[in-house]
């Protein structure tokens, strides 16, 4: 087990969003969190990544209690968040955005180049638009840069919040494939996705969140078979796929 959240309570100011969530991610695994809009998936991921303070509970990274540590520390320990809404540096060039992805890690120049080149393999837009201001990219292009920015940090655990939001179908496939690749390369991935089917399909394990709590969990395949999950999140598909 490389990452776990134990009985986490959290929220914003006086607003409680998480009510005792526990999840865990094993090394080399891809774990998905699914749930309706606003149930607290992003809040959970942000709480783990040190973006939102915990009210109580623990976050363990590689056996170490990292609860409440700031992102800047967690990044150095190998835990990187690719946030919902991208949060790119819009006035910086694509290249500078990626450089920022490694800056806190004291990676030397040659290695930085190498990592950027590797990311460009996966997302060619990085090479094509290296000198364009990130803010002027299209929505989908920005999403790719955001994933790449997390990727160049070579994290041990990568947390992806809605990575396919706004992506074209083909790009969605690309990103899903990329996530599989990342996992295959040994990075553990914690994933929150509105594209429930795709995310469960590539996940080793999944958690269904409701009202700030885990209500169902199981392997990705089990959850895809779960009638309630299908009914709740895979509306059209459920209608179309039901006879099969």
């Amino acid at each position: 087990m490389i990452l776990s959240a134990e009985d986490v309570y959290g929220g914003y100011g006086t607003r409680r969003v998480l009510h005792g969530i526990s999840i865990q991610v094993d090394a080399g695994q891809c774990v998905a969190v699914v749930g309706a809009n606003g149930v607290g998936k992003s809040t959970l991921l942000r709480s783990i990544a040190g973006q939102v303070p915990l009210l109580s509970g623990r976050v363990m990274l590689d056996g170490e209690d990292v609860s409440g540590q700031a992102s800047s520390k967690l990044v150095r320990k190998g835990l990187v968040l690719c946030p919902e809404g991208r949060h790119l540096f819009s006035g910086l060039t694509v290249r500078e955005n990626l450089i920022m992805g490694v800056t806190p890690l004291k990676v030397n120049a040659a290695d930085t180049e190498f990592r950027i080149a590797a990311a460009a393999e996966m997302f060619p837009v990085i090479r094509e638009r290296a000198r364009q201001a990130a803010g002027t990219l299209s929505g989908g292009e920005q999403q790719m840069v955001a994933i790449a920015r997390a990727l160049v940090a070579r994290p041990r655990v990568m947390i992806l919040d809605e990575p396919t939001l706004g992506l074209s179908p083909i790009m969605t496939d690309t990103v899903i494939a990329a996530i599989q690749q990342i996992v295959a390369d040994g990075t553990a991935v914690l994933l929150a996705e509105q594209n429930v089917r795709a995310s469960l399909a590539i996940s080793d394990f999944g958690y269904v969140i409701e009202g700030g709590r885990v209500v169902v969990s199981g392997t990705g395949a089990d959850l895809l078979d779960d009638a309630a999950v299908v009914a709740a999140y895979l509306g059209i598909e459920a209608e179309i796929a039901a006879p099969e």
């Binding site: 990544a49 040190g50 973006q51 700031a70 992102s71 800047s72 967690l74 990044v75 150095r76 990187v80 968040l81 690719c82 946030p83 809404g85 991208r86 949060h87 790119l88 540096f89 819009s90 006035g91 910086l92 500078e96 955005n97 450089i99 920022m100 992805g101 800056t103 806190p104 890690l105 803010g135 920015r149 997390a150 940090a153």
Partner: protein, 289 residues
């Protein structure tokens, strides 16, 4: 002939002074979008510190160094106490807070040091004549320092990771934290660099001008004009902006009307804002959308 070259030289020297304050402002306002209106007052405090230390130590250069360091600390203090808590406030609030800071610093200076003008003797006294224009060494130093600072700032912001981090943190605080930067620490750094530069401007200005609580008043406005003239993001453009403003003022007051001396900067400002709000060298930036 003598008057033209002298006026030209005056313009360059004046523009360089504007430019030095503008470098700090380019970083803090142009990049971080914090309208630090108090840099003029910072320069004034820097000049007083220079006077104090030069008096005590007998060395102008030691005084300059102390002033720069002290103002760097003042920058940290300002950021921690004023601008950092206002991160999420509407931009106008920051502006108003900066006005408040000007008043506090000015009030502080007049309470402590009184209204009497203080004088600092330059370490490099004397002057030379160049094409009929008389130029003092102290003013020459200002010209050289401002040029050097611009190059340094340009390289710093575009080429060094720390510099890029400052720009990054200014663009998106969330983005900065997720990659592991500490935006608040970064803005502390940037603000202290900015204030230190304002202090340097004050220290260099002290032997040229007299040191009084109001000496920085017009500097702030002029520095803002320079930044806008140059274009918000454009560091390199700012040196040209400073010089253009200095020359416009020197020739305007020399050949058109002395009474309108401060007016020329305003004409330039309004013309730029009305005709080309992105500045002479700026690209269209987020502020316009």
């Amino acid at each position: 002939m003598g008057q033209i070259t002298q006026t030209f030289a005056n313009g360059i020297m004046l523009g360089s002074i504007y430019s030095i304050v503008a470098v700090g402002l380019a970083l803090v306002f142009g990049v971080m979008d914090i309208p630090q209106f108090a840099f003029g007052a910072h320069a004034m405090i820097g000049a007083y510190i220079t006077w104090l230390i030069a008096d005590a130590s007998g060395s102008y250069w030691i005084a300059v160094v102390v002033a720069v360091i002290a103002l760097g600390f003042l920058g940290v203090l300002t950021q921690v106490a004023i601008f950092d808590p206002l991160r999420k406030a509407p931009p106008a609030t920051m502006f108003i807070a900066a006005f408040g800071l000007v008043m506090v610093l000015q009030g502080f200076a007049s309470v402590i040091w009184g209204a009497d003008a203080r004088r600092v003797t330059s370490a490099a006294s004397g002057s030379f004549t160049f094409f009929g224009a008389s130029i003092t060494y102290q003013r020459l130093i200002i010209v050289i320092v401002s040029a050097a600072l611009f190059i340094a700032m340009f390289v710093f912001l575009k080429r060094t990771r720390t510099g890029i981090s400052i720009r990054a943190a200014a663009e998106s605080a969330v983005g900065a934290t997720v990659v592991g930067l500490r935006p608040r620490a970064i803005s502390l750094l940037a603000m202290s660099i900015g204030s230190a530069l304002a202090g340097l401007a004050g220290a260099l200005l002290a032997p040229v001008s007299q040191v009084t609580p109001t000496m920085g008043d017009s500097l702030s406005i002029k520095a803002f004009v320079v930044i806008i003239l140059a274009g918000m993001g454009s560091i390199g453009g700012a040196i040209v902006g400073g010089l253009v403003l200095g020359l416009v003022e020197a020739f305007g007051s020399g050949y058109i009307s002395l009474d309108w001396r401060d007016g020329f900067a305003v004409f330039v400002l309004i013309a730029i804002l009305a005709l080309r709000p992105e500045g002479l060298f700026g690209k269209e930036t987020k502020a316009w959308r």
